[in-house]
């Protein structure tokens, strides 16, 4: 394994506080084993790249942390406390926000509807979901966040289905970033994007640690990984098989580790 990089502002993993840890995660879909004892640590303000070939189990691990998939066995801890997730709503309530693979937006809703989905404030309270939405308040919420998240050029009242892939992904990322309190998880956020659109997303991601957020990012693009990540964790066949500090020029090593040739 390569030594810690000297020129990097050391993100000294040892002296940082552990935010999220997954231990020995196992999950089988029928006869398909998606996770076979995967582990993952994430420190405060750290950006970890989760790497691995197609089918390595990255998305499944993320879905377990997000409460979509229930693990067969294994433990997830957030801030040192066991995290019990019965639904994705639990994960959001714990401060974990996720951008899922394949543009996870509602094409038939507007930009600001997408941004606020599941977090709408209603009036009067006691009516619950049957309470009324306030368009004015939603506009205000959008304006508060939009400028900080580089989506200010997107019109909030436009239907998101009519926007380009980059704009849609930007809104999906903004939704996660705006409301996350502990961890932001991005599953291939740049997969469908062009060069400029990827750039914007990566810049946004790189700034998240300033706000005290930790990030897990899945990507197949090693150049993107090198640009944003502090550390890389590699998965193969449902297991975490190695990790490496990330700095310029490690692309080849990362690829070798993903393919399992050492």
């Amino acid at each position: 394994m390569s030594a810690a990089s000297p020129e990097r502002i050391s993100n000294g993993i040892s002296d940082k506080r552990l935010v999220l840890s997954v231990r020995e995660a196992r999950k089988a879909y029928g006869f398909v084993t998606a996770l076979a004892g995967a582990s993952l640590d994430l420190c405060e303000g750290e950006i970890v790249a989760l790497l691995g070939d197609n089918g390595a189990g990255k998305s499944t691990l993320i879905k377990a942390i997000t409460g979509i998939v229930t693990l067969d066995s294994g433990a997830i801890e957030l801030d040192g406390r066991p995290l019990r997730l019965r639904s994705p709503a639990d994960a959001r309530a714990s401060g974990i926000e996720t951008v899922f693979q394949d543009l996870a937006v509602f094409d038939n809703l507007t930009v600001s509807d997408n941004f606020l989905i599941g977090r709408e404030q209603t009036w009067p309270r006691w009516l619950g979901p049957l309470g009324f939405l306030s368009a004015r308040q939603e506009q205000r919420q959008w304006r508060e966040h939009a400028s900080a998240l580089s989506v200010s050029h997107v019109s909030p009242s436009h239907e998101i289905g009519l926007m380009s892939g980059g704009q849609r992904q930007a809104v999906a990322v903004a939704r996660a970033v705006a409301f996350a309190r502990r961890v932001v998880i991005l599953d291939e956020p740049t997969a469908a994007l062009g060069v400029r659109e990827s750039d914007e997303i990566l810049t946004m991601v790189r700034r998240l640690p300033e706000r005290g957020l930790s990030v897990i990012i899945v990507s197949h693009n090693m150049d993107h990984v090198v640009r944003v990540a502090d550390r890389a964790v590699v998965m193969r066949q449902g297991r975490s098989v190695g990790e490496m500090d990330v700095r310029q020029g490690v692309q080849k090593d990362l690829v070798a580790m993903i393919m399992g040739v050492t």
Binding site: N108, P129, G131, E197
Partner: protein, 345 residues
């Protein structure tokens, strides 16, 4: 250099132009139902001398009230990518249940509650089977329910028709308020309520979200299953209300009440421009859809065309509406790529 800039400017200009043209087509598609309705009314008005008369229009509204009521509930189900074909039988079940429970001679206003309650029960069963039973084909589930309920209706009624209906129900179906049929007015108020719920409440927005992308809805933590259940429950309830209007209009409780109405309900929603892909459509267009059907029926009747032809016309109407929906999806994709190209220029 100057030429370069010119070319770049021009090409992005035409892309914008094309996008705007496509956006206009999209708007036209959205306004389609009202355009079709007005065209039909004008055409029949010119062809059939008595078509645009107060009496005929009153009749038309009263007739369409049943399909409108059915369409409101059906729209919610189609919005969440489902369909409910059991509503025809639910009409019969509500009618026969009321007639059996309250008797037909005793005027009883409790009946007004029983119709929607019967529908609610069937709707909840549909929703439970589809959501909790894990049967992913709503069509098959509700076809089975159509048969089951039709059988239950025959069992309850013994195949007999009870003649008579309570005065309150009779008035709702045949009475008039300021010249407007009471049933139509009731459905209009109901539609207003639906519009408010769908467009102004969190529940409504979530329903559109679930229809637009059920997986993402679950991922972001919306109560997807309960939302889908609520759509089926409400669809059953509106079918019960339609049963009340049906009972009032026919004045008797036949076990064969409402046969075939499920097709009209689905047609109204689809012709009204709601997408079978889910997540698209509006309450107003559903009403227009129901009125289009009623107009075709009544217009062809006035022209002394065989009623068989109206089936053909309505069937063609469904197919055209479905094709237009596919076209809409296609145009949206085009707009998206044009916009992406512009962003990357």
């Amino acid at each position: 250099m100057g030429a370069d800039v010119d070319i770049a400017g021009k090409s992005s200009g035409t892309a914008t132009g094309r996008r705007d043209a496509l956006s206009i087509v999209l708007l036209l598609l959205q306004a389609g139902p009202i355009i079709i309705l007005v065209t039909l009314v004008v055409a029949f008005g010119l062809l059939a001398p008595h078509f645009i008369s107060v009496r005929n229009l009153q009749n038309l509204l009263a007739q369409s009230a049943i399909v409108c009521a059915l369409g409101l509930g059906q729209f919610l189900v189609i919005l969440v990518r489902g369909v409910d074909v059991s509503v025809g039988s639910v009409i019969a079940l509500s009618v026969v249940t009321v007639a059996t429970l309250t008797g037909v001679d005793q005027p009883s206003s409790i009946a007004l509650v029983i119709y929607p309650l019967v529908g609610l029960v069937v709707g909840l069963i549909n929703g439970l089977l589809i959501v909790k039973g894990g049967i992913p084909q709503p069509l098959v589930v509700t076809v089975a329910m159509l048969g089951i309920v039709a059988g239950v209706v025959l069992l309850i009624s013994g195949g007999n028709t009870l003649v008579g209906v309570s005065p309150a129900v009779h008035w709702l179906a045949n009475g008039k308020v300021l010249g407007i049929p009471a049933g139509a007015l009731m459905v209009l108020i109901l539609a207003g309520l639906f519009w408010l719920l769908l467009r102004r409440t969190q529940w409504g927005r979530w329903l559109y979200a679930v229809g637009g992308n059920p997986d993402v809805a679950q991922w972001v933590g919306l109560p997807r299953d309960r939302l889908i259940m609520s759509a089926y429950a409400i669809c059953g309830t509106t079918a019960g209300i339609a049963g009340m209007l049906y009972h009032g209009r026919t004045g008797s409780a036949s076990p064969l009440s409402g046969v075939g109405y499920e097709l009209d309900a689905i047609t109204a929603v689809v012709v009204g421009g709601a997408s079978l892909f889910g997540g698209r459509g509006s309450i107003t267009n559903v009403l227009f859809g129901a009125l289009i059907i009623a107009t075709i029926r009544s217009g062809l009747q006035q022209l002394d065309v065989s009623p068989f032809w109206s089936s053909v016309a309505i069937g063609i109407g469904i197919l055209v509406a479905l094709e237009l929906d596919v076209l809409r999806k296609h145009i949206e994709n085009r707009i998206r790529t044009l916009r992406a190209r512009q962003v990357n220029q």
